[in-house]
């Protein structure tokens, strides 16, 4: 079973919800940190790295003695990763998506493919659960291959994906294959605006999802009103509580620093499980 924890906007407490749910779920759970640009789950789930794998992508290498300078590869590349001043092309790996098209179109067979490292996937035995963390190298423009590799490295029966912020490719790559999506939001106009955008993406993908309201204030019905109107289920509310912010700042789990919150996280987890099996 795979549950993704997502939020349109960063900083809504998505990672916090994901790590606390993973710990409540217990030793057999695997948390995959798919926020590979800024992986943060390891701060809460410390442990020994049991394995590290390099994620790489196939990128072209030009065999200059074979290249006729015909520019077919340069014309083909929609990402402008190849340019030519007449002779063999110059290749700029930062722009390459690894589609392999240049090799296909080269009439001289002058392009081979080599592996370019994009980042790492680390497996961490965090004791209370397993953490699989993807980490993108600084300066690499597409996080998607690292996200896919991190997801593929999680082999447990119960897997939680901590999704990256935003509503574009990295989010879509994370959500694909998940059985259920938990959307974490906060009761502010910013939170609602980003929630709406994420819901649009989820509906386009035909995903099942529910909402958790973080930093909830009883007086504020912004998110409830929206969810009611859109027939979206609210699975739980984490109250605005300065102690939670302080625990987070210190890199501590809510369910450990403030055990009174354990039943809340357990009920959110159980609600997710019910929705998946229903």
């Amino acid at each position: 079973m795979r549950i993704a924890v997502a939020s349109g906007k960063g900083g809504t407490g998505k990672t916090s919800v994901a790590v606390n749910l993973a710990v409540i779920a217990g030793r057999t759970a695997t948390l995959v940190d798919c926020d590979v640009e800024e992986p943060n789950a390891h701060i809460f789930l410390k442990g020994d790295v049991s394995s590290t794998d390099t994620v790489s992508m196939s990128v072209p290498a030009i065999e200059e003695n074979r290249c006729t300078g015909c520019r077919a590869c340069v014309e083909f590349c929609g990402f402008n990763a190849l340019i030519s001043f007449g002779g063999p092309p110059l290749f700029f790996p930062d722009l390459c998506h690894g589609c392999g098209g240049c090799r296909l179109v080269c009439p001289a067979g002058a392009i081979v493919e080599v592996a370019r490292p994009l980042g790492e996937v680390r497996r961490i035995d965090a004791g209370r659960c397993t953490l699989v963390e993807g980490c993108l190298e600084v300066g690499v423009s597409s996080p998607v291959p690292v996200i896919k590799a991190a997801k593929a490295a999680a082999d447990g029966d119960f897997v939680i994906y901590d999704a990256p912020p935003g509503t574009s490719c990295p989010l879509v790559a994370t959500l694909r294959g998940a059985d259920y999506v938990l959307l974490v939001t906060e009761p502010t106009p910013f939170g609602l605006s980003d929630l709406r955008l994420t819901v649009e993406v989820l509906r386009q993908m035909n995903m099942e999802f529910g909402v958790v309201i973080n930093r909830s204030m009883r007086s504020e019905s912004l998110i409830h009103d929206y969810c009611h109107h859109e027939a979206i289920e609210v699975l739980g509310e984490i109250p605005e509580d300065r102690r939670i912010a302080e625990a987070y700042a210190a890199g501590r789990l809510i369910v450990e620093a403030l055990p009174g919150y354990r039943p809340l996280f357990r009920s959110i987890l159980e609600a997710c499980l019910e929705r998946v099996t229903a």
């Binding site: 935003g166 605006s193 300065r242």
Partner: protein, 296 residues
């Protein structure tokens, strides 16, 4: 004309709320919302759009089902798993959310059944707000913020700043470190990094500073919600000063920021508890930028 970009490693550090406050302090400034994935500046500044255009970015594959023979070569060649043959019809189907627009399928298709047209990614706008002119964008769901879009928004903002004789462009930057952030950062006069005093914040700080160094943009750092963890705030401040960086100040944890947001106002306009802190950060950054401010 100077360009100031406001960045934060991760989202949710208060970057946009602070940018909106700076907009009300820096008048006249032109605003550029380059955080297109989670564009929120408009919720506070309530722009009235004056110009709107459709935005295209890259291309995407479309299978003409009547021409497709269902041979599956496209699915075999596509490295992004965007092509499948398991749909209800016998023809290949494109998953537009997975298609990266490389054109490999178009090249391998023996039936010439795949069109490769420009992708409609959203709309881009220039608007008027109570704090100055603003360039911003709205993406279609699943569409990518890109270097092109960020550059477009910045270009419109520069144009507005020239037309209006406005000395400052204030950019709300995208989160993360990938292509859109690089496009927002490159060539800026100055960057302000907004960081929270958390373990995550400390971790992100090094990565974002590596990026601003790479692009050789002078950078200031401010700590938001500093009193959540005074010790970590001190660590951040010391670390910045020790490396010769510019520490622009601290802003306190203030629920007034959210309350202001509910009323579509900035914390400074509402005179929230943190307004003084924000003014002082702005003063420090404005000094670095060597610009005059109305209120600084």
């Amino acid at each position: 004309m100077k360009e100031l970009v406001v960045l934060s490693g991760k989202g949710g550090t208060g970057k946009t709320s602070l940018t909106a406050c700076f907009a009300s302090l820096a008048q006249p400034a032109v605003l550029a919302d380059c955080d297109v994935d989670a564009a929120n500046l408009h919720l506070v500044l309530v722009p009235e759009a004056e110009r709107r255009e459709t935005f295209h970015a890259g291309r995407e594959a479309h299978v003409r089902s009547e021409a497709c023979r269902g041979c599956g070569r496209c699915a075999a060649a596509c490295r992004f798993d965007a092509m499948s043959l398991d749909g209800p019809s016998d023809s290949a189907m494109v998953d537009p959310l997975a298609c990266e627009g490389c054109g490999v399928c178009v090249f391998v298709c023996p039936a010439d059944a795949i069109d490769f047209s420009e992708r409609m990614a959203g709309s881009v706008m220039t608007s008027r707000t109570r704090c100055g002119a603003m360039a911003h964008a709205r993406l279609n769901p699943g569409a990518d913020n890109s270097g092109k879009l960020v550059s477009w928004v910045r270009q419109q903002a520069r144009r507005l700043s020239e037309e209006l004789g406005c000395p400052l462009v204030l950019i709300d930057g995208p989160p993360g470190l990938a292509c859109p952030t690089m496009a927002a950062l490159t060539g800026c006069s100055h960057a302000l990094v907004v960081i929270e005093p958390t373990m995550s914040g400390l971790h992100d700080l090094d990565r974002i500073l590596a990026l601003t160094r790479h692009f050789e943009v002078p950078t200031s750092v401010c700590v938001n919600k500093w009193d959540i963890d005074a010790e970590k705030s001190a660590i951040i401040e010391r670390r910045i000063r020790a490396t010769g960086g510019h520490f622009a100040g601290r802003v306190r944890y203030d629920r007034g920021v959210t309350q202001a947001q509910m009323r579509a106002r900035t914390a400074v306009e509402e005179g929230a508890a943190s307004a003084g802190d924000i003014r002082s950060v702005w003063g420090a950054v404005a000094e670095r930028l060597a610009i005059d401010t109305v209120d600084g």
